[in-house]
């Protein structure tokens, strides 16, 4: 029946009408996963038996007219989210047999909303990457062309959504790890404001940056899932006490007179094909009534330095807990990338170097935050390409000492400032690879960012490029 191709919205409609069951959808997803296991390798763990049981339970609730936001919908979860009694590895050999005794808050909320967990997706080990090539369990391949990478670190989740192996997925972003693989895989990826979604139970990468968020087929799905995930959590002291918005309600409002900021510095070094398609997309928004304004944003090249230092320093601290005593295997099993990052972080925090590196990076972080604050006085959102390149071929990250940090130049500034940003697909290259555009908003402006994204999506819903499907 190909029910795995449905969006969350369409799946919910069909379940309500009793056109099909949750078991039907779940079976179709599992079939698609099994068919493409070796071609794409998006999953570390496939929860086939549990998912089928949960689908049957969901069907019983549906037949009793129970209504939960994600009841009966199969969702794929990035393998850095703790899942009770389901192996959680962060795609690392150190945690290859680790089974958490608790659920992360994100997973608990998804379960409370009736979602079916279909499996745990592949990622760059410890989320250290922008390709999913540095997974300790083999790379995930881009469904649009399996000789190419899906991006990362949420590459497994993005690929699973693009390949219709799940109806939606959960990822996490420290600086680019949701938006960039969403861009390379042609799907919608939302990085909420830092603190909007609880980090409790997420295997920590950089604690001042990590932001869990949804990866979906449509913007409407993204808004729906954000509402489920967002909110203050007693278990995460950095989670925001601000009220959660009615994200799905606001997205249909038009964008007349909305002020969109474009900065030249965010088009420097971007492949011409990408820049052209993104600029065409921005023109469409202008035709719909938005006002385009040239702004001068702080050069993103400095964000690479700030992010490299802060992230690697926080990583060196967070990964100290993997001592092989209370859980996991011994530290000699860290991969090359993890070792590189831990050691650079250790160096940057060590006596004699702390001021030169970590302290300096934190000061430039303030400069970046202030720069965005100033920009948002004259514009409502900032738009530009998500990634300077299209998906790159398998093998592109070998022996690169900082592949990820350089690849994520255009998304690092907004991550450093804790802002929200969404990637939406806006077309394809001549080589049939997806092109993504990002919409960045101030902290807690998810409603606005979703509204702009939804407007573009609906305006272009019948365009030919949307009819393309990955050849698998």
């Amino acid at each position: 029946m190909n029910l795995n191709k449905l969006s969350v919205g369409k799946a919910k409609e069909g379940l309500k009408k009793r056109a099909f069951s949750s078991l039907d959808i779940t079976k179709d997803c599992i079939e698609q996963i099994e068919k493409n296991k070796d071609k794409i390798n998006s999953f570390v763990t496939i929860c086939e038996n549990q998912a089928l049981e949960d689908a049957k339970k969901a069907d019983r609730l549906i037949s009793n007219d129970q209504d939960l936001p994600l009841l009966g919908i199969p969702i794929a979860i990035k393998d850095n989210f703790s899942t009770l009694e389901i192996k959680t590895t962060a795609s690392s050999k150190i945690l290859e047999n680790y089974i958490p005794p608790f659920d992360s808050t994100v997973v608990r909320k998804l379960k409370d909303a009736g979602a079916i967990i279909i499996g745990k997706t592949n990622m760059d080990a410890w989320a250290h990457g922008s390709s999913t090539e540095t997974s300790d369990f083999g790379p995930t391949r881009n469904p649009w062309n399996t000789n190419y990478l899906p991006g990362g670190s949420s590459g497994g989740s993005a690929a699973a959504v693009a390949a219709n192996e799940a109806i939606a997925a959960i990822g996490s972003e420290t600086a680019g790890s949701i938006r960039q693989p969403a861009s390379w895989c042609g799907v919608v990826g939302l990085k909420p404001t830092y603190g909007r979604v609880s980090r409790y139970g997420v295997i920590a990468m950089a604690s001042s940056l990590d932001s869990p968020g949804p990866i979906t087929k449509t913007v409407e799905d993204s808004a729906l899932i954000l509402k489920v995930l967002a909110g203050k959590d007693e278990m995460d002291a950095t989670s925001s006490p601000l009220p959660v918005g009615e994200y799905s309600k606001g997205i249909n409002t038009d964008i007349k007179n909305l002020r969109i900021g474009i900065s030249d510095s965010y088009f420097n070094g971007v492949e011409p094909e990408i820049a052209e398609i993104v600029k065409k997309a921005i023109k469409k928004l202008e035709k719909l009534g938005a006002k385009i304004e040239d702004i001068k944003l702080f050069d993103p090249k400095y964000a690479i330095d700030v992010y490299t230092i802060i992230q690697r320093s926080e990583v060196s601290s967070n990964l100290a807990r993997y001592d092989g005593i209370r859980f996991g295997n011994e530290r000699n099993l860290f991969g090359q990338e993890a070792k590189r990052r831990i050691m650079l972080g250790t160096y940057a925090l060590s006596s004699g170097y702390y001021d030169q590196y970590y302290n300096k990076a934190q000061k430039v972080r303030t400069v970046i935050i202030e720069d965005f604050k100033k920009a948002f006085e004259s514009v409502d959102v900032i738009i530009g390409p998500t990634s300077p390149t299209l998906a790159l071929p398998i093998g592109s990250t070998k022996n690169k000492s900082m592949f990820g940090e350089i690849a994520d130049m255009l998304v690092e500034p907004s991550s450093i400032a804790g802002l929200c940003g969404i990637n939406i697909p806006v077309g394809f290259s001549k080589s049939d690879l997806p092109i993504g555009m990002q919409i960045i908003g101030p902290q807690f402006a998810e409603e606005l960012v979703l509204r702009v994204a939804h407007t573009f999506e609906q305006e272009t819903i019948n365009e030919n490029w949307r009819k393309k499907e990955p050849r698998l």
């Binding site: 680790y98 089974i99 005794p101 608790f102 830092y194 603190g195 001042s208 007693e234 002291a237 950095t238 925001s240 006490p241 090249k301 400095y302 690479i304 330095d305 700030v306 490299t308 230092i309 060196s316 100290a320 092989g324 005593i325 209370r326 859980f327 996991g328 530290r331 000699n332 860290f334 090359q336 070792k339 590189r340 831990i342 050691m343 650079l344 972080g345 250790t346 160096y347 060590s350 590196y357 302290n359 300096k360 990076a361 934190q362 000061k363 430039v364 972080r365 303030t366 400069v367 935050i369 000492s401 900082m402 400032a417 804790g418 902290q443």
Partner: protein, 92 residues
């Protein structure tokens, strides 16, 4: 700038193999890439350690459900009598 890879590895408690001693060169590469951070003027700029602006987030001092001892120990490769077993750090 030359990095003492062995010193850093010791601080980070990362065992290095012979092949991995060239990690020093890669670390130096990364450091030279981020040198240009010095170009940014930061006199009188306060460092930011977190972007939420939240301070002193506390909860009521009431015990709440947590992990059982069994759950807390279940992922360890080496336990004894309800304790984690570790290498000796003191000599007799």
């Amino acid at each position: 700038m030359k990095i003492d890879v062995f010193k850093v590895a010791k601080l980070a408690n990362i065992p290095l193999t012979k092949e991995e001693t060239n990690l020093g060169k890669q670390l130096e590469e990364t450091l030279s890439y981020i040198e240009n951070l010095g170009e940014v003027k930061t006199e009188n700029v306060e460092p930011t350690s977190q972007v939420t602006g939240l301070e002193n987030v506390v909860r009521e001092d009431k015990p709440t459900p947590s992990l059982s001892q069994k759950e807390a120990l279940q992922n360890s490769r080496s336990t004894i009598n309800g304790f984690f077993k570790v290498d000796a750090i003191l000599e007799q």
